[in-house]
Symmetry: C2
Subunit: 228 residues, 2 copies
DNA sequence: TCAAAAGTGTTCTTGATACACCCATGG
DNA sequence: CCATGGGTGTATCAAGAACACTTTTGA
């Protein structure tokens, strides 16, 4: 039994954001140390001896980017020898979702080099972070059709078209507006408010909706399952 | 940056088997060291400095149980401080499937204390292994309905009723034989042979079927998705 | 000849898909 | 009054669910 194991444990986070203007976004930081100095990478770092994995990823995200996470879930663990050229590092990765009002960076301490990139227009990434992003994107795509995590990427109140465009951006395919509305409405956790969208552009303003989390959890507990 | 991190990295495996006689089975080993000496636990152990996580779990399963794994997939990583009373251990867990002809234990070196238990009749487990099994079972249940991993729990040739009973055992609910057969047959990767089941009991013997892996991968590549 | 398990089709209901015109607003 | 984007309903088709009797074998 090797008690003198040399493996280190890290956490890394794939944080997604969304705006209809910029599409599906991912949060990266610019490395200021070797290896891969100057390259972009996922936020993350080593786990402290006494903190849980979740605490570690929240701490790293706060320190390095200052974003406010709405949803976080463990993704996968990467541990191939050689993925970090310095030491053997096993990284437990998470993916998170941020609402548009939390996209503002630099609220943290040393977030000077954090930036959002459109997922279709990412730079080269350090380590095996490209693989991690790829797994995260697939997970997001498959999860968003059977749990309403899409709402965690929108403001509290949003026009219906935002939800629709978000799904198109994440799933990367067209969606029929009428069928989509029928499906989503059927579940009953979408509340229509009396307010209307504030426009910056021409076009008819849409009604604002919000997500009824209470009702969703109730439905989920009763065993009703959401599927888009 | 803490370079003197004290966390250890382990792998643990939830290995499922199935026979129509005994139902859905899980592989446990009896601990012969403290802590939890004499209790049952999942097979697993610390990862060696130079081996991949997958190599580690295969090695541990072989050393501790000698089973022959047909399917293996990473499950989840558990890392709460205190889950192991001795040291901080982060465990990357896997779940695996074994065909009935690989159920034989003791082919390994020191597998004297490995045993199969029906999932509905497990003993108390060491550490947080009960939680791990619970996650694995949910994963198996959700995976078996959209990927044909069920075939990895049956012999090469099997009567159709075995497949049906397996699904009932895993999903823990009744299934209509005719509807199930229609669904499964529709995909076209189920081959009917001319052979008939050898009976130990009364009743009409069923035709034997086998799973066409080639065809399945072809269909999958073409983007056809299986769902029971 | 009885008990046990396998084999097989049809009907009905529900959900999925395809599709086009009118409405409210800003410029 | 025109351009832009939001809002809405129906008809067709496919898949899912419910359901019972006949056949083959061992005892």
């Amino acid at each position: 039994m090797p008690v003198n194991q040399k493996i280190k444990v890290a956490v890394d986070g794939v944080v997604f954001g969304y705006t209809s203007k910029d599409g599906l976004l991912i949060l990266l930081i610019k490395r200021d140390v070797t290896p891969f100095k100057g390259d972009w990478a996922l936020p993350g770092g080593l786990v402290l001896d006494e903190e849980s994995l979740e605490d570690a990823i929240y701490r790293e995200l706060k320190e390095e980017t200052g974003v406010q996470i709405n949803y976080l879930e463990q993704l996968y663990s990467f541990g191939k020898p050689g993925r970090d050229p310095r030491n053997r590092v096993v990284s437990i990765t998470y993916y998170g979702l941020v609402k548009p009002d939390g996209l503002m960076l630099n609220a943290g301490t040393d977030a000077g080099d954090a930036r959002w990139f459109n997922v279709k227009n990412m730079p080269e990434l350090a380590f095996d972070h490209r693989d991690i992003v790829s797994v995260a994107l697939k997970r997001l795509q498959s999860k968003i059709v059977y749990e309403p995590i899409g709402f965690e990427l929108l403001d509290e109140k949003f026009p219906f078209s935002e939800l629709e465009k978000l799904y198109m951006a994440v799933l990367d395919r067209p969606i029929d507006r009428r069928n989509f509305k029928k499906k989503v409405s059927k579940f009953g956790f979408l509340i229509e408010t009396n307010e209307k969208q504030a426009l910056e552009t021409a076009g008819r303003p849409g009604n604002l909706f919000c997500f009824d989390q209470e009702k969703y959890f109730q439905l989920k507990k009763d065993g009703i399952n959401f599927e888009i």
